[in-house]
């Protein structure tokens, strides 16, 4: 992954795959051959802890385990720029500057102003997802699908659920069902990716 080219000491990347199995994430991790922790999160624990609703999401955490830059869209390359409209150069430069202590940090007020916090419906959706995930793992796919659908109704902006459960339901997450979901979402005036307003580090 491109972040590794920073090659700085006192800095590490932790990647967490919100995938239904290690096998889904493995080809990507094996291709990247990272020297940093590359973790698998089948129950989406990280999504619950950090209120992550889509991927890729990046969070900057300092040496004292403080959040210094909250959830943002984070593509490390321009590979998908033609789809997302999101460039990587400015965010990567900001990241490099932060790692090298070359920029002043956001104030706590600024950080809190940029955070989105979960609602009751978000957490209810996560409980429905967790129930569905357990049911899917225990051979009850139809029951699981009911709870995934309920979760999607409660939190329509949570694509870790609405798209993330497609593989568990035997649906291609890059296929027509996803494109239809995305089309309906954007036609209703929503954005699929919601980057933070600026990349000041």
């Amino acid at each position: 992954m491109l972040y590794e080219e920073l090659g700085e000491s006192g800095f590490t990347v932790i990647t967490v795959a919100l995938d239904k199995s290690a096998d889904d994430a493995r080809p990507w991790i094996d291709a990247a051959r990272p020297s940093h922790p590359s973790l698998i999160d089948t129950r989406h624990l990280l999504a619950d802890l950090y209120h992550i609703v889509n991927v890729p999401t990046v969070v900057w955490i300092d040496e004292d385990a403080r959040i210094v830059r909250p959830n943002d869209v984070g593509f490390g390359t321009d590979t998908f720029k033609h789809i997302t409209g999101l460039e990587s150069a400015k965010p990567l430069a900001a990241l490099r500057a932060w790692v090298r202590d070359e920029t002043p940090a956001f104030t706590e007020t600024e950080i809190r102003g940029l955070q989105r916090l979960p609602t009751r419906d978000d957490q209810q959706a996560r409980a429905e997802f967790a129930l569905g995930e357990w049911l899917a793992r225990h051979g009850r796919p139809e029951a699981a699908a009911r709870h995934f659908a309920r979760a999607g109704e409660l939190a329509p902006h949570d694509f870790t659920i609405r798209r993330g459960t497609m593989p568990l339901r035997g649906i291609d997450p890059m296929g027509p069902e996803f494109r239809q979901m995305l089309g309906e979402w954007t036609a209703a005036g929503h954005r699929y990716y919601r980057p933070l307003p600026d990349t000041r580090g």
Binding site: Y3, G10, D41, D62, L95, D122, A127, A130, W134, P173
Partner: protein, 92 residues
Amino acid sequence: MSADDVFILIDGAATSEVPARRIEALAAGGERPFAVDHEERVACLGVAAATRSAALASLEAPDFALPDLAGRLHTLSEQRGRKVLLVAWASW
């Protein structure tokens, strides 16, 4: 539900067997989100939005323990003293 029914209750990484009356009590409502499948007799207790929000608003990065491809657990706290870029991604 009959009074003799036993449900599986999922609470984080833990599962336990609980009687139906406990499920009724949880379903009646409380602070924590609660999902139930009566047919399958499985239920799940989640974490309240107020709990997650307070933790995030404190700006302390929540710790976690997750496995790598070899099954070895890694935590955020073991990186204390280093800056961390936490990246959530997926094959989908």
